[in-house]
């Protein structure tokens, strides 16, 4: 780990001036992608991404639709494996190990790197079993009740559902369902939680609950969120990566344009394209 922490940015304070000293610190790299290219069939969806994601921070990935931000996110826990035509080139180092390397099992990868999806997707089970199912499957059966309670509490849902744990999860509102999915993901004690536009299907009140939750959760987990909502990125993220669609003769593919502390991306972006995107639609 020591080697990896050498060239790492300092912890970010939102109010901090942009010339924050970049020195070695106790910030730890969780993910480091090297020349990551993901293609569907022959067409690359996202190309040549080098990006480091730091522990206990919220990293936001923003960009216009079609820029490959979801594809990038899904390559971090090998969900792209489920698309038969998907092909991954380059490396995704997770604490130094390439998750696409030999001897690495996607089931183990996903167990450590959880995911929350765009549309709430509770299982056709009771609220309790939604959270307990993953624990049972992974063999974390000791103290099931208290694990479920802890996860639901962390997801700020416990008080709302503690009296109806045995009821179907379909009876919950959309926002509650999404928090249940977050509880389900963190119950199995992952290291990282990937969130793929987790609030895009929710109303503003439910959205703000999810955002509050993210501030809480980053104390324990590393969060990576894809969002099309720039205000949301500015509110929740410590680091922001801006992706865009680079047009080519054969269509186009996503590229990483700029990656920096969130305030810098939104106030003093280094790249014209970032500036155009951020000022064009933001503020």
């Amino acid at each position: 780990m020591e080697a990896d922490t050498m060239n790492v940015v300092a912890p970010i304070e939102i109010a901090q001036p942009r010339e924050a000293p970049r020195s070695a610190s106790d910030l730890e790299i969780v993910f480091e992608t090297r020349g990551l290219t993901v293609s569907y069939g022959k067409a690359p969806a996202v190309s040549d991404v080098d990006l480091s994601i730091y522990r206990n921070l919220v990293t936001a990935i923003i960009g216009p639709s079609g820029c490959g931000k979801s594809t990038f996110l899904r390559s971090l826990n090998r969900m792209n494996d489920l698309v038969p035509s998907a092909k991954v080139e380059g490396e995704v180092l997770y604490h130094g190990q390439n998750i696409y390397g030999d001897g690495v099992d996607p089931v183990e990868v996903r167990r450590r790197i959880g995911m929350v999806f765009q549309k709430p997707n509770p299982f056709p089970k009771s609220i309790y079993d939604n959270v307990a199912w993953g624990l049972r499957v992974l063999g974390m059966k000791d103290d099931l009740d208290s694990r479920v309670e802890r996860a639901l509490t962390q997801a700020a849902l416990w008080d709302e559902v503690k009296d109806r744990l045995k009821k179907s999860a379909f009876g919950l509102s959309g926002g509650q369902q999404q928090r249940l999915c977050i509880a389900r993901a963190i119950a199995v004690e992952p290291d990282v939680v990937l969130l793929d536009e987790p609030a895009s299907a929710l109303d503003p009140i439910a959205t703000s609950k999810i955002e509050d939750l993210m501030h809480e959760l980053k104390n324990e987990y590393t969060l990576v969120i894809v969002t099309h909502n720039m205000q949301q990125a500015a509110r929740v993220a410590d680091m922001t990566a801006f992706f865009t669609l680079e047009r080519t003769e054969s269509g186009g593919h996503g590229v990483l344009v700029e990656y920096d502390e969130t305030p810098k991306i939104f106030t003093q972006p280094a790249d014209k394209r970032t500036e155009g995107y951020v000022t064009g639609r933001f503020g």
Partner: protein
């Protein structure tokens, strides 16, 4: 009609005759198609009515005791359906017992596992199995499968599992077990293709949600796919059951027209439907014919109950799914 210049531009009114023709045509087509639909409903009613009318002499003579009596004595006109109900139940349930896990497994293979290119090919091959006429399957059953069952399968089962009553007795080339296997072959393509469609209908988000937790594919199947499709799968099994109960020809060919109530699958037997198919020309007295149709009436009631329950489940299930998402 002469063309006149008008200050107000307007389309020409349709000729009166055309308008009447259209109205009449609409009414006529509506009425004709409606009558055809009504005819289908009347037909269904007529089938039930006719069967009970034909069976009525036996129903009044024997009453409900017919259902609980054994034996088919044409000399003394003593008829009972119990042997046949037993044979129907045993063969259908045993076939279902084999067919259910097989169908679910095939459905899973076709929806989750099969290589994409081969998927439709294998799926249509399995469905082709359902297209083989039952009389051909029965022919194969009696001349190919039967000897194999009597000479190899049953002795083997008897040697290893003989302590189970189902596998007691001496092996035969015709009998319940051959009927069970033939029925299984008939049910599996039907239920497995319904299962496949049900499994394909499970939202991908749910499957991905399970995999994102670190579940294996099988754990995802057990934890998400099967619970999600539970009622649909049970409806598919019921439809398969209805098919097994009603199959006359292939069962008649292979079951060997036995009688009595036995636990053994090796003995010959009869089902409600196979008895009907055997006796189609043999009935002499009116009461014998009425008794045979009494069997058909029992069969009709069972098949209506089974089918309506399955259809009810399917309908409720589809509403549930719409409500759930």
């Amino acid at each position: 009609m002469s063309a006149r210049v008008s200050a107000v531009p307007s389309t020409q009114p349709l000729p009166e005759r055309r308008r009447i023709g259209d109205r009449f045509g609409d009414l006529f087509l509506h009425g004709l198609t409606g009558a055809a639909a009504a005819a289908a409903a009347v037909l269904l009613g007529a089938i039930a009515w006719k069967i009970f009318q034909l069976a009525w002499p036996a129903i009044t003579k024997y009453g409900f005791a017919f259902v609980t009596r054994q034996g088919w004595d044409t000399v003394h006109n003593k008829f009972g359906a119990l042997d046949l109900i037993w044979g129907t139940a045993l063969t259908s349930f045993a076939a279902l017992l084999i067919a259910t896990p097989l169908s679910i497994a095939i459905g899973l293979y076709l929806s989750e596992l099969a290589p994409r290119g081969a998927r439709t090919v294998i799926a249509s091959l399995v469905e082709l199995l359902a297209a083989i006429p039952s009389v051909v399957l029965g022919l194969w059953g009696i001349l190919v499968l039967g000897p194999f069952v009597g000479q190899d399968l049953e002795p083997w089962l008897h040697r290893h599992l003989g302590f189970i009553p189902l596998f007691s007795g001496s092996p035969e080339n015709a009998g319940m077990l051959v009927a069970v296997l033939v029925l299984t072959i008939m049910i599996v393509p039907i239920t497995s293709s319904i299962c496949r469609e049900l499994f394909l209908g499970v939202p991908t988000e749910l499957e991905q949600g399970a995999l994102a937790l670190g579940a294996t594919r099988w754990e995802m199947v057990r934890g998400v796919i099967l619970p999600y499709t539970r009622s649909g799968v049970s409806a598919a099994i019921l439809l398969g059951f209805g098919r097994a109960v009603g199959e006359a020809i292939a069962v008649t060919q292979v079951i060997g027209a036995g009688h009595g109530i036995h636990w053994s699958l090796f003995v010959t037997g009869d089902t409600l439907a196979s008895k009907l198919a055997e006796q189609y020309q043999g009935a002499v007295s009116n009461i014998q014919i009425a008794s045979l149709v009494y069997l058909a009436a029992i069969l009709l009631v069972i098949s209506l109950l089974v089918n309506l329950t399955a259809l009810f489940i399917v309908r409720r299930f589809s509403h549930e799914r719409i409500g759930g998402s």
